[in-house]
């Protein structure tokens, strides 16, 4: 089984991150924005795992760190969705454009 080289992982992570970033900055639906954020976090996880295996001194630190990130991301997604639901109940919208209370 031939090994997949490091640049391929990094490329995948980069593409994933860019897709996530693009989605987070341009999508109007708050749910999709949250999903895009998850994409970016997962791009980071791929990087962590890839470096854990292929860096100059491989170890478990990266993998453990990515487990932490997944946990925190799950918690974050739960909190984010809860806020979103509360917001929806108040404002009857999930449109990011209309969430501009920071301006006031």
């Amino acid at each position: 089984m031939s090994a997949v080289p490091l640049p391929a992982y990094l490329m995948l992570a980069l593409i994933l991150f860019c897709i996530g970033l693009f989605g987070a900055l341009t999508k109007r639906n708050a749910v999709i924005v949250l999903i895009s954020i998850e994409l970016m976090l997962n791009a980071v996880n791929i990087n962590l795992v890839a470096f854990a295996k292929y860096s100059l001194n491989p170890g478990l630190t990266g993998q453990i760190f990515s487990l932490f990130t997944i946990t925190v991301a799950a918690a974050e997604a739960a909190v984010g969705l809860a806020i979103l639901i509360a917001l929806y109940r108040n404002r009857k919208t999930v449109n990011v454009d209309e969430m501009d209370t920071m301006k006031r």
Partner: protein
């Protein structure tokens, strides 16, 4: 007595304060407060004068404040010159107070009028008692304030308001000159004291150019106050005030303050030949110039006003021609007969309720007291022998001649002729002939409270001349010689033909007026017809007011318009540019702050991309 002379100005001040408290009062007995208190001042002034006559004098000063090494002092001084002024001022003030009791009868602001009179009397007496220039200057301005308030007493009349403002502004031009002169003297001498200034003038501490400059600056102040050419235009307009005010301020006292100032600073003027010449020339020109305008005026008070300007010119001419005594002498006699003339004119106005002489006539029979008194005043000012004006005018002519100013001498003689002519023109039109106009009905003589002051002044207008005559004794010049001023030496009694010439000029003037206005031998308008352009110019007061209007007033207006434009378009423009700039910037900034997290995020991403690009291109840390 002399130690208490500082109290003299305080009585009118007390009257001012008391009457202000009673200003709402409708009772006309409030006038007695003013009359009584100025009466006390008069009695004290006479006491002081008698003491000074015996050769006494006093000067008391205390330090007001210290300025570095120089002490600024306040105090009072009594010397022969200002003791004489004290008597003149307090006497005329007292008589005018008394007269106003009758004249102002029925006025709504009766106590206020007397309060203002008190304020003015206080300021004038204080001015006279000042031992230094700074104190004089303060009272000088107070006198101007009093004059302003009294000219504008009928403030509901627009002319009176305008006249008050004009008087204030015109005299202020002169005051600036006086102030500059005062500051220059302080710079050069280090003191405002008359004595110290005279001492350094005597020691030759001042360069001759500086002497002339300071003397001329001070003379500018005198020109403004005394209505000399070219700042005379306020004085005729000041006649809008009540007539007693004209008698007190614009005939006898305040306008004489300029002459008094030159006399008080006389050693300074004596030290500069050029300054004396300027004083004499300005005086002489004013005398003939104002007299010529007086020939054609139709308002009884304006004729008298131009006459006052002309007579003040005489005084300046005398001072400029080294005739110190002559100038003071004429100041004294003029104060009496001109106050008399004004009060008599006031009595006429009181009777007929008009100031236009063309609406008067035949008043001699109706005003049995005012008429003869006016005649006495007219005879005195014309210089008819044996009356006061004759002696003082003769003295002026003699000293001008003795000083070698022959041109000015003849100007003065012509002015004397004009004086006699316009005074008797006035007399004949007002008092003789047929009654004209509707106002003549119900004309009656003024009450005793008005005629009494006139009678006193009438007596003085006759006898004041004997203060200084070559026949009985030169009391006045002996008296003034006691003062600090070193009188010019030498015989000032010119050739014996001078009194003859003066008398002849007066007689000619009276005869001409008689022929034209009484007998009608000469048509009234033969001069007007033969010299239409000249009489037009004279009738319009040489177009001086119009000239000032075209040049100074228009110039100032134009300048202020330019200033408005500058302010509106340049100063305001700058301000608007700054505000709009800030506003635009703010608007751009607020558009960035739209509350959208996504746009913030985009901006942050672009920011980090740019930073990364910089790092990549420069190889990190801007190395």
């Amino acid at each position: 007595m002399l130690q208490m002379s500082w109290l003299i100005p305080l009585f009118p001040l007390l009257s001012f304060i008391l009457l202000l408290l009673f200003r709402k009062s409708k009772s006309e007995s409030t006038a007695w407060i003013g009359v009584l208190l100025t009466g006390i001042s008069l009695v004290m002034s006479i006491g002081v004068f008698l003491a000074v006559w015996q050769g006494e004098g006093i000067k008391t000063e205390g330090t007001w404040f210290q300025m570095g090494e120089r002490a600024i002092t306040m105090g009072f001084e009594v010397n022969p010159l200002n003791a004489l002024m004290l008597v003149i001022v307090s006497l005329v003030s007292f008589l005018v107070h008394l007269y106003s009791k009758g004249y102002m009868h029925g006025d709504d602001r009766f106590p206020v009028f007397f309060a203002y009179l008190g304020l003015f009397s206080f300021a004038m007496l204080g001015l006279v008692l000042s031992p230094n220039l700074l104190q004089l200057y303060m009272f000088w301005e107070l006198v101007g304030l009093g004059s302003f308030l009294l000219i504008g007493f009928y403030y509901f009349k627009p002319e009176a308001k305008a006249a008050a403002k004009k008087a204030f502004v015109m005299t202020r031009i002169g005051d600036v000159g006086l102030f500059i002169g005062m500051v220059l003297l302080f710079w050069q001498v280090g003191s405002f004291e008359y004595d110290e200034i005279f001492a350094s003038v005597k020691n030759g501490d001042l360069s001759s150019g500086m002497l002339t400059l300071t003397a001329l600056c001070i003379f500018v102040g005198a020109v403004g106050k005394s209505g000399q050419l070219p700042l005379h235009t306020w004085l005729p307009d000041a006649m809008e005030g009540p007539t007693p005010v004209s008698a007190l301020i614009h005939a006898a006292t305040m306008v004489a303050a300029g002459v008094y100032l030159v006399a008080a600073m006389y050693p300074l003027f004596q030290a500069s030949e050029a300054a004396l010449t300027v004083v004499a020339v300005v005086g002489g020109l004013t005398a003939i110039f104002a007299a010529s305008i007086g020939l054609m005026q139709k308002d009884i008070k304006r004729v008298l006003a131009y006459s006052t300007v002309s007579q003040l010119g005489y005084m300046m001419l005398a001072l400029g021609a080294s005739g110190y005594v002559a100038g003071i002498f004429h100041l004294t006699t003029h104060a009496f007969f001109k106050a008399l003339l004004f009060l008599a004119a006031g009595s006429v106005i009181h009777a007929v309720h008009t100031q236009n002489i063309e609406e008067m006539g035949g008043l001699w029979k109706k005003l049995r007291i005012t008429g003869p008194l006016f005649l006495i005043g007219a005879l005195a000012i014309s210089g008819v022998p044996l009356l006061s004006g004759f002696f003082s005018k003769d003295e002026i002519l003699a000293s001008t001649y003795a000083d070698g100013k022959y041109g000015l001498f003849w100007l003065a003689v012509i002015a004397a002729f004009m004086t006699a002519f316009y005074m008797f023109r006035l007399f004949f039109i007002v008092f003789t002939g047929e009654a004209r106009g509707e106002t003549e009905k119900g004309v009656h003589e003024s009450p005793g409270v008005m005629t009494f002051p006139m009678i006193v002044l009438g007596v003085l207008a006759v006898v004041a001349g004997y203060l200084n005559t070559t026949w009985f004794g030169t009391f006045l010049s002996d008296y003034l010689a006691q003062g600090a001023v070193e009188l010019p030496h030498g015989d000032h009694h010119g050739p014996a033909w001078i009194p003859l010439v003066a008398t002849l000029a007066a007689a000619l003037g009276i005869a001409l007026a008689y022929l034209i206005y009484q007998r009608g031998t000469l048509s009234r308008d033969w001069i007007t017809r033969s010299l239409p352009s000249l009489s037009d110019v004279i009738y319009n007061k040489w177009y001086i007011d119009e000239g000032y209007d075209q040049t100074v007033v228009k110039g100032t207006r134009g300048l202020s318009k330019l200033g408005v434009l500058f302010d509106r378009y340049i100063v305001d423009g700058l301000v608007t540019a700054v505000t709009t700039g800030v506003q635009r910037l703010g608007r751009v900034g607020s558009r960035v702050q739209n509350g959208q997290v996504q746009s913030y995020g985009t901006a942050a991403i672009f920011g980090i991309v740019i930073l990364l690009l910089i790092v990549a291109l420069t190889g990190g840390y801007f190395s």
